[in-house]
Structure formats: C-alpha cells, structure tokens
Symmetry: D2
Subunit: 343 residues, 4 copies
C-alpha cells in the first residue's frame, strides 16, 4: 500500500493517548466538560500561556470551533475578514454563512493577511447601514499554505484590530507546527496576549479528535457554554477531549510531535532543493508545496500518495506534501531516496 502524504490525520492518536484512555476508562466522571481531566487540561493550558484569566473550551473539530466562535462573538450585522485561502472562506461548506455572517476573502500569495488588506475591506464598506460592518479578523497559523506569522506580524495585526475595534481570532488547527517551525519567534504566551481567541489543534497533532479553544477576551467568555451546546459541540463524554489534551500538554509531547512533523517535512524539502526543485511558497512547517513536472509526479505517485494542489502550466504543478507526528524516519528516507533518483 502507498504511504500517504495527503494529510496529517491519517493515523489514530499518539500511543500515550490511547494508553491513558485505557488507564482511566472505568473511572466515573461528570459529563459535559466538567470531568477532572478537562478541568486539569484547562489549568495546564492557562499556565503554559501565563494567562490565568483565559477560559478554555474543548471541542471536537476545527470547523466546529470556527463556527461557534464566530457566531458567538458577532452580532447579526457583523462580518469577518479572512484570507481567501482561509479555511472558513473556502473549505467549510458555508459553515460561517450558515450562522448568518458574511466572510470577506482577501487575495493573497502566502496565506497571510496584513493590516492594510483589512483596511481596504473596511474602506469599501463605509456606506452604513447598507453594508455589513467588519468586526473580526480571522487568521490561521500555520496557514493553509504552511506559512507562519512572525511576532511582528501578529502584534501589528492585533494592534490594528484594537484600533479598529475588531476581534482577532487565530485558527490554530496547526498551531503546534507553527510554534515549532525553525523560523518561528512566537510563543504560546504571545497567543495569550495578542489575540482575542485562538485554538490549539489536537486532531492534526496526535489526538484522535479535539481542538482547545482559548478565549482571552473576558467579555467574549460570557455564556460561551450555551453556544457550545446549541451547536452540538458539548460532548457528553467530554472526558475524551480532556484526557487527550491533558496527556499532550502535561509535558511537551504536543510540541515534540509538531516539531517531529516539521523536521520530517524539512528533510524532504532539502532533498527536493538538492534536485533543483522550486516551491509555491517558502514554508518551514509540516506542509510543503514543491513544483514538479508531470513525469516527476508520476514517478513519485507509484509508492506515495499526495494531492496535486495547483496546475501551473501544461507541464508543471505544485503538489502538497504533509508530514505528521507519525511519519517515520524510514518513510522519509524511502521517499528521499526516490526523490534523488527521479529521472
């Protein structure tokens, strides 16, 4: 069977998680997120962020996290600004609009947005009350193109949002990968300071399911639990989420897994650079987008699976390769071996 580089959720969970699930399996716990594992996971996250006033809510997936946060924070006439490559703009089957809110998409080359991009959207919506009011900026880190925000980027965007009375919300489905990239200069503490809310993705970094929503903005924490319930996100056995985040975060397992995934991607990147390959954009996380010709794609497709991301011309396309916490050295070595022998 082919090895798949299609995504970072092809395997189950890190074995320590399965073990822990087994260990506490028969202990009775309160339902709906009031189990001791979830409460402990919340404490750990707040401690690691150094933000005791934050609130943590564990949910099962990224689209769910996005739609709940956005619909809970915005009033009916308010909209959210995103990159047009952003998950909420293009890959959630209209989930945000289904809760009643417009998403503005910003053209971009690298998956990121800047204050001036957002300002342009605002400038084009000054005919009140005939046009929606922008109230939130949504970014992903790492982005859907594998790129990351620097500390300067994040602070600039947050300060802009503060000035313009906008909420800043960070989709962190791959936040672990962003924070362990070699070019990264942001920390979890920064996310406790320079945004209104974000989430720490578990699904793509070693958990079976689970995203840990963190709300820094105290006003936005009010009655958030109702929104979780109303959108079907409050698991009766919240323990399933609590146990996983407890295990991932009680030491640095979470970051070690992400770092591993990044390193495997970087090894492959280097091999591709060696054979003169170019990339759609420069990334240092677990997603790389090398530009290959059809012949190369065909050869690599014999033993490996991956998405062709974007046709560039009749000959060449960018493909997307994603590594994960579970990608072994052996797999990487085999793949690199095929790369350097490409004809």
């Amino acid at each position: 069977m082919k090895y798949s580089f299609k995504n970072d959720y092809a395997e189950g969970a890190h074995p320590r998680i399965i073990e822990r699930l087994s260990e506490v399996n028969l202990l009775q716990q309160n339902g709906y997120g009031l189990d001791e594992y979830s409460l402990d996971a919340e404490m750990i996250i707040k401690r690691k962020m150094n933000n005791p006033a934050a609130k943590v809510y564990l949910v099962s997936g990224g689209t769910q996290a996005n739609l709940i946060i956005i619909s809970a924070f915005l009033r009916p006439h308010e909209s959210v600004v995103a990159a047009n490559t952003g998950h909420i703009f293009t890959n959630e089957s209209g989930a945000i609009e289904a809760t009643g809110h417009k998403v503005h998409g910003i053209e971009n080359a690298d998956g990121k947005i800047r204050p001036e991009d957002v300002q342009k959207i605002i400038d084009g919506h000054q005919n009140m009350p005939h046009q929606v009011k922008q109230k939130m900026v949504y970014i992903s880190n790492s982005t859907e193109l594998g790129t990351i925000y620097s500390k300067t980027d994040l602070i600039a965007l947050y300060e802009f949002c503060q000035t313009k009375n906008l909420f800043l919300f960070v989709d962190g489905a791959r936040l672990g990968h962003a924070l362990t990239a070699e070019t990264n200069d942001l920390t979890l503490e920064d996310f406790g300071k320079y945004c209104d809310a974000f989430y720490l993705g578990g699904t793509k970094n070693g958990a079976l399911i689970g995203e840990a929503i963190v709300i820094n903005n105290i006003k936005l924490q009010q009655e958030f639990g109702f929104h979780l319930k109303q959108k079907g996100a409050l698991l009766a056995k919240g323990r399933l989420l609590g146990i996983q985040f407890q295990e991932l975060l009680k030491d640095d397992l979470y970051f070690n897994l992400a770092s591993h995934a990044n390193q495997q991607a970087m090894k492959i990147k280097k091999a591709l650079q060696l054979i003169g390959c170019e990339f759609l954009c420069e990334t240092f996380t677990n997603q790389i987008f090398p530009i290959l010709n059809q012949n190369q794609i065909d050869q690599l497709s014999i033993n490996f699976d991956f998405y062709v991301w974007k046709k560039l011309d009749n000959e060449r396309a960018a493909v997307r390769l994603i590594t994960s916490w579970a990608t072994t050295d052996e797999t990487v070595t085999n793949f690199i071996n095929e790369i350097i022998h490409l004809k």
Copy 2:
C-alpha cells in the same frame, strides 16, 4: 466516592473498543468518514436492518445529529412536532430554532406522542401562509422518561405521517435500551421500514462518542454530506467513529450492553417495588423514576448520586436513576441492600 446513577455516560468506553482503537492505531486511513472502518460499520448496520438502500452517517453526539437532520430535511417555513419532554424541545439550548425551525411541544404524561396529538397541532395551523407548516414528527425511543414505543405505536405514527406528508424521525440516543427492554416488540429492521430517519446511539451505550444516523428515505439522503460538513460534524479522523460502531455491531455487543443496563435497572426497580415504592411512569429500560420521600432520598444520597427529577409535594419527589453498560452487579447489590434497609 459516591457511585453515580446520574447518567449513562460517566465512564469511558467498553474495553473492546479501546483495544480495537489501539490495534489499528497506526494504520493510515482516508479522512472524513471514508476510512474502511466507517465504511464497514455502514455495511453492518444496513445488513442488520435489512435495508440495503439506507445510508449511514456517523457523527459525534445527539444534539449534533438532531440539528443536522432537522435542518437538512426541512425547508425554511417548515416545523417539527415533538413531545414537550423531547430533547430537541427542551434540552438543546435552542439548537433547532438556531437553524431556523420552530419546534411544537406536545403535553404528555409518558414522553410519547400519538397521531391524534400531532393532528391537533396541524388543526391549529390551517391559516396558511400565516402559520408554519408542520413537516416532521420527532420522537425518542426510549424516551426521555425511559418509556418505549411498541410496534403498533410506531406503525400507527408512521402511517399517519405518510398520510399527512410528514417525515418521521427517531432520536435513538438510547435505541439499544429500547430494543432490549423486556416489553419491546420492535427490531432494528422495523426502524429500517417505519421511519424516514433515525440514529443508533453510541455515547450512552458503551462508545466514547458517536451516533450512527440512518436515512431510509432515499430523497433525504441527497447531498447530506454537505450538511455534516457545514455544521462541523465531519470529523477528520472519522475512523474514531467507524472503529467504535464496527466493534459494537460486529457481533451483538451493542445489544448486550444495553440489555445489561436494562437488567441492572430492573433489579433496582424490583427492590423499590418490594418496599412499596411508586414510580412516575412505568419503564423497562435503563431509566427509572421512583417516587421517594425526602428521608429516603437523604439516606440513599449518602453513598449514591442521582438527580431529583420532579418535586411532587412537600414530602415526595420522583428521582431519576440511570444504569449503564458499566454498572456492576456489586454496585447494584449494594444499592439494593440500602433500599431494602431504608427507614
């Protein structure tokens, strides 16, 4: 620590599920419900129901299942009729209304609704187009009061719905318990025939999470996947759901677990009857609602936890006791021992 009879989701999963999760943990699978475990679980369910034309969709919880099914099936001006004790009417934080649909609540004594109840709602909404149009009947089996529908009940309701052009949807969060009650005469096959859609609950019957939605009505299957995605229910690691239902259903584990829970409840019921206790309604599933006086409640509360469901007068209240697949004989023996020694 007190033993809790508060609900049937206080423990983790049946050990066979944890073992199976562990066993296949590192095998790569497709995401979003296209893994081989989910596909196999679908086959098993369809075979057990003897309805090859049905479609199965695995989701993480009951509120999620309810809101997706209802919003996918109804047009904006259509409403759903439920018992006023029904989960969607009273316990989902407005989840159905949040998707735009009115829920009519029917007064009832036993958690069940009959064709004549529904007809009354319809009769009161003949001023078209000034009033919503009823298009769906929602029932739970077993109900929120632990009661069940008989085959005669179900067929009568379904035939009524067919005549009136209404969909019949069955919330089966505790369908296992209903189908294994000693007074039950319905089978899984009947649910493949006498309703438009239903779900088989996993969360309350031995799974970590998971409800298996079954859509019998072929028209209603169209493009259902979009609704799962839009509402945040399409798990990247759908394997987590697939593995659990595969394991629960490949032999009769699912029904054995439910039957066990029912039997434990019936033992407790008999002990309570022995001491002359009355019940809010007669049930044969894993939920019983004995009427106790405050003194009895206080005594039993020392070692056991349960909800006081409904105050009846200054002296007496109905309490709710729920057993589960994990309730041991020892626990039941201890509890019965306390019951028969109540002063």
Copy 3:
C-alpha cells in the same frame, strides 16, 4: 356586497394621509428614512412620549417589526417568552425562529401574561447551558383577544423584567385602540418608561402601511439601522412612512381614529348584550368576541362578513368582530338593527 368586520385593514388610508401624500409628492427628499417627514415624525413621537432619548424607526409591518427587534436584541442562545395566543408565537409563519430564536408560549385565557407565568418558564430552564436562556418578554397591547394591560399590569411586568434581566417589548399593532379604550389608564408616556421597546401601529389605524418602532433602552439603539437594512425593511422611499406618521400624529388624529373604532365596537357590544349575548372575554377595544349560536351566525352572515373564531360546542361559537377607523355610523346602525331582530 357584504360589509366586512373581518379586520381593521380592509380600507385604504385616512383621507388626510392621501391628501398629504399628494401635496408633497414631487418634493425631492433623501432616501432610506432620512427624509424630513420621517425625521419630523420621530420628533413628534418623542415629544408625545416625553422621552427625548428614545429612537424611532419606521417600518412597513408588524411581523417585520417583531422579527427585526427580536433578532437585533437577542444573542443566539437567548429566547423570548410570549402568550401562546401572541402573534409571534402562532401567526408569523415561524418568523422569529427563522432568525434563530425560540419562542416560549404561555397558556392563557385573555391574551395577557403575568410575571408568575414568565417565572414558571424561567424555573423550567435552569439546566444551563443545556437550555435556552430567557432574555425577553413579548406582549401585545391590545392583545390578539382585544384585551388590554392596565398601568399596574405593565409596571409589574416591567419591574419583574428589570429584576430578571429581561427585555420587555410591546407589540403595539393596535396600541392606539388600547390607549383609547374606556377602561385604559396607560399613556404614551408610560410606554416611554415601562418597556425597552414598543411600536405604534399604523396599518390597523388609518395608515396605508407602517409601524413606528420606539426603542427606549439606549444600549439597544446601537447600530439598529443595520438590522433594518439586513432584513429588507429600510424603504428607499422612507418618506411614505414618514408622511403618514407625521400626519397621524401632528394632532390627535391617530387617537381619534382608534377611539372611533372602539366606540363603534362598543355600540355593537351593547346591542349584543341587550339580546343576552355572552362574550369569550371582556374587551373595550375594537375587537369583540360574542358567543352566538349557528342560527344567529347564519342570519348575520347574509349581509356581514366576520370570522368564526372558536367553536365552543355543537351549537355555539365565538365570532370575532373588528371595527376600524373607517366603520361608519350607518354600517353600525344597520348591523345593530339586524342584531336586535335576530330570531
């Protein structure tokens, strides 16, 4: 042709309104409610209410007013409590639910609700966050049964709402009729004090269309214009609404028209009382609900049109008779003549 007592919107507008429309027809004005007539109507209403901090928004109809106010004031998990005879509960084709909010219906005999009714709903929704949160009380004055709230009633309800952190919103589609009923002790000023928002109905009191929404609660005024636009209520030619309210309110035309309608109803009521007729409920506004036998209904139906409101038994039914600003003395005399000659 039969004369219709079916409703109070069978004719066009009071002639003074048509004249005024004609008079200013060719003067250019700003669009979208910024015309001088709308601005002046707002000033008049605020002066008459003696509440200079209020804001006034003119819209085209009652269902529109209800759905905009409720969806603008509530967050997604919040619900509104109404009488189950209330227009929003039963006669708006799910308009409120379509904006995402549950409406709780209270059983009642006279169309009115009291603090203790609302408290019962709140008491039944203490399982947070699993149940919706009540945040608004909706009443109609006059009610759908023609009854009215007294000053004591209104103050009691408003104080209750203040204590419970609930908004009080008054549907005033027939507020003119309520305020001119012989048993009324409320004034427009009271509505500027004892509720968060209400509207003054024009459609049923001499206008072609139009309801004047008044928001007393300053916080709830914020950005309200966006909601008008988003729901399609911001008329390009807002002048149409402004001119009508300006004309109705610049002297006491509005109240004189309502008073006339009430008086015509009271004359008919007295005639019916004379022949020993009973009524579904006691009303002093332009809606009366006499209980007639089938023979009487048949006789009166030859020359007059009205709704049979509620069958009481095989013999008798309550019918609904509505008079309007346009019901002439001649019509009333003819109708009374038929009443007193009923066989």
Copy 4:
C-alpha cells in the same frame, strides 16, 4: 435648494398612482395580497410576459425581494454567484448571508457576469462536501453600473445555468430602464422564458414602493407565500402594492416612465461627450458615470447634488448621475447649460 441626481427615488409616485389610491381608498378589500388590485396586477403582468404559468408576488423593496427569493430557492448548503458589484454582494448589509447562504463575488468591469466567470467559481469548488455548492446565478438588469444584458447575453447565461443545474435570478429593480434603453433587444416575454425568476422594480420607476416578483419555474412557486410571510413581506394592505402595479402596467406607463428617465440621462451624456468627457463604462440607461476633474465637480456641485462614485487619481473621479421618471426637461436644460459652460 440643489437638484439631486443622487438617485431615482427622491420624489413620491407618479401622480396617476396617487389619484388611483385616492379613488378606491374606501372600498373594502381582502388583506394580504388577495385584494382585487393585486390579483389584476398579476394577470396583467402574466399577459404582458405571455407566460400564464408564472406566479407574481408583490413586495415592498428590492433587498426584501432578493433575500426572500434566494432563501426560498436554496437549500442550506447552496450558494449564489453574483458580480462583486451586485447589490446582494455589497449593498444589503449581509442580508443573504443572514439567511444562511454564501454569495460568491465575481470581479468585473461593467457590472455583468458571463458563463465563464461562473464556471471558474464552480471549478474552484469541486472538493465536495467541503465546499459550498453553487446553485444560483444572480444578475441585475440594468446593472449597478447602468449597463444592460443583451438577448444573446441572457440566453447564453440561462442555457449555461440549465446545463449546470443552476437557477438564474434577475434583480430587476431597474428592469424598466433596461428594457427601454436604446441598445436593448430584450422584452418582458424574454424574461418569462430565459430565467427562473426576476422582479419588475416599482420603487425606482414611479411607484411609492413595490417590486413585482415573477417566478417562472413552477417548482419554485410551491409554498412561496410562506416565505413572504416569514420574512415580514406580506403586507396586510397588499392593495397598496396592487393598485400601484395595476396603474403602472395597465397601459405602458411603466415603460414610458423608464424611457423618460433614460432619455434625460442620454441628453446629459451627450452634453458631457461634447465637452470631451469620458465615462467609467458605456451606459444607455438612467445611470451615467462621467469622469470629471475636481474643478468640474466643484462647479457642478453648486446647484446639483450627486455621488462621487470612484476616485481615479488625485485629479479625477467618476461621478454617478441618476435621472428618474420625475426629472423635468427644465432641470436637464439647466444642468446641460452648466456642463457646456464648465471652465
């Protein structure tokens, strides 16, 4: 006072409409669109379109028409494609998204969209069910830039939509102006054939309020009345809408008024061309977008009001001039006089 060329809704209604309102003012009629004027207006429209199977629904405004049609026609996961200059994309305060649907905006130079533009959107949304499904194309005729669709344009788009299983919906807020433009080759009959639904705008062409929705597609007519009611569009005094459309359409008043507006704009256009003025796009309807320098804008602004539409550079901007059924020859002569004497 300055004369305003800002829009085509600054005056009231054509005098014949006011007269007719006055004439029938005291005749009793059924409510909610069942008055004889509305029924007659429907017959006239169907006859003029030569499509007896169509259904007509009169509503009060364009945003209202758009949001009702789109939310009634689409299922929750379906989206609508529009020009990014389209009213629903940019000028309705998120009205369409508030009903749950994504609007895709297409970059364009002239306000129009072509099959290939729509195809590109579809091509970018093939990852089912992770992306919304396009189900409707929305166009305006005349467009927000004053341009019009030719018969070839419309047929090409409609045939494309038929092939792709998309609904075609035409916003006709200014359909009268489109159909009477000198370059137009479409007829009302064509709109009865080459789209699923459209509306005939009254507000911007001589009515006080009112748009006549026409649904050609028989399936989409089903239960449409419920949507009108639910969104607050069903006027109690539907007669107000019926009388206006009856009067506008019983002879060619509707088209004569639009033609007049177009001719006044064309006279101004010619004067501007004489002085060498360029235009943002070439239009033959009642909207023109001349490019002027700041000095010219300042001079014309002394006696006339208009919007500066788009800054082109530090010197020049395109302004928008709109004429209406009420723009007199005298006003046009005065304005032209100022144009030809611009320094």
